[in-house]
Symmetry: C2
Subunit: 302 residues, 2 copies
């Protein structure tokens, strides 16, 4: 199927100026990147990360793009090109590839990303979608996990919890908020919440060798977390704290910058300050005057 | 296994200046590329592209790098960074990953490539290795399949056939010859022979909308093709013509440049001229004064 499918794809893929040669040669040729280049890679597999029998293949393709776009946003970067590699189960391989690509191409068009290359295999195994994505930071430095400083405000780009009810398939990619924040303030550190707010916050702070004092009441809880709570018997807060796949950004910046960002009309009301970076490692909350340690929870990959 | 294995990998991976931030953040950060960037992606899967039961896992990891390095060489480029994504069968996942990485890291060290990122999954399926590799062309243009001109000489970087006897696992990556040729001559078009000399030659010429008149007797036949012929009953020439995974380069350049390259002591005697590009599409040989059409053969992906 490879030759004919690649011909079909070449016809469907938009040509954007950052890709000088796309699908069809031994490698793609990219135009020189302005500033710094970032590259991420994420794969999702049927039976591990999604359930192909219960979900639309287009949604799954869209999600494979979204998890990479979220990583690009977490670097404060703009996405450029995607390299898409599929491993396709033998039955209906061409039909599966076509359906997955509907979601991939929808995402690529929405976010101005070129599908510049990749690979296709047909095999005796579950559907697997692997995307490597390039992006760039035109001016300034990419946002790393390791840049948080004592005294920084901790801000999040939106509400958490209950994404499993459906939102996880077509998450908002916070590229536009990241671009606005880059112009407006100086972000010191960032990570995207893929495995759970508390777990990813803890990872970012550990990379920065600092901790956090959290204002627990300020953590935005998604309506889905409340709905999920009714089914699960766990509190909505617990879902917000530990559910994965929110794909919101967790960032640190000076307290003044955080105030400026929260007040800015272009940022909107999704951005919320949830705490302060402290020198003592770990996650903490103030309870009747004394500090109590919180346990990070979330999805740990097998 | 992911967290601890990534920590192990970070320790094993060499830091090269082109990668400013490697494994461990949301994305890698690459230093600005000098000239033009090329990016390729290739996956190999147990049961489709190799047999994990009968081969060393380190060899398979080495090969996954080699097929990408061969694509970089075919662009006339220098490799920079690799993004390695593994899908690992549940049984002995960590041990499998470690063994595969032995070969990947050996190749990375030999060819000065940084392992800058990737992903790991454990699943109910066969071992799959997916590598996306970046490279650059510091000065001049990447070599495309589409640049062959009527009158060009067709040259190959080495001998063909019988790679299945073992050579396919640890092929010579023609990066060094590509670098020498870039300094010495003007390569018009190039492709690497992964699916068979005749099939890949035909692909390159089709992309250039031209054909070839071949001097069949000049096609270098590998000793392995002769050995394979004894087992298969097919001629050694047939093996050279259609076996895949030689990973030699097929290139076109002016006749004068071809002579200059063949005569150059740095290139060595592996380079051979095997024919001439003609305006009429297809592969041809001259037989008693008249042209006879040849049929391209090789490995067509399911």
């Amino acid at each position: 199927m490879e030759t004919s499918f690649l011909a079909y794809l070449r016809g469907r893929c938009r040509t954007l100026p950052e890709v000088e040669v796309g699908i069809g040669d031994d490698a793609a040729v990219l135009a020189p990147v302005q500033g710094r280049q970032v590259i991420c890679a994420d794969q999702i597999i049927d039976g591990v990360d999604f359930d192909a029998a219960g979900q639309s293949l287009a949604d799954i393709g869209y999600k494979a793009m979204a998890i990479n776009l979220s990583d690009i946003a977490a670097m404060g970067a703009v996405p450029d090109a995607a390299f898409v590699t599929l491993a396709l189960p033998k039955d209906d391989a061409t039909q599966t590839a076509g359906a997955v690509y509907e979601g991939i191409l929808e995402s690529a068009a929405r976010h101005q990303v070129s599908i510049a290359g990749g690979d296709l295999s047909v095999y005796d195994g579950p559907l697997s979608i692997n995307i490597t994505m390039t992006g760039h930071v035109a001016a300034g430095e990419p946002w790393l996990r390791s840049g948080a400083c004592e005294g920084d405000a901790i801000v999040v780009s939106g509400a958490f919890g209950g994404s499993i009810l459906g939102r996880h398939l077509r998450p908002i990619s916070r590229l536009s908020m990241a671009a606005t924040l880059r112009r407006l303030v100086d972000v010191h550190a960032a990570i995207d919440a893929s495995d759970g707010l508390s777990l990813d916050l803890d990872r970012m702070l550990a990379a920065s060798r600092v901790g956090a004092e959290l204002d627990i009441d300020q953590i935005p809880i998604h309506d889905d977390a409340h709905r999920q709570s009714e089914q699960s018997g766990r509190s909505a807060f617990e879902h917000a704290w530990s559910d994965g796949e929110d794909f919101e950004l967790i960032m640190t910046m000076s307290a003044d910058d955080a105030q400026k960002a929260v007040d800015d009309p272009k940022i909107g009301k999704d951005l919320r300050r949830i705490g302060t970076v402290v020198g003592r490692t770990g996650l903490w909350k103030r309870d009747k005057g004394s500090l109590k340690r919180l346990s990070p929870q979330g999805y740990l990959h097998g």
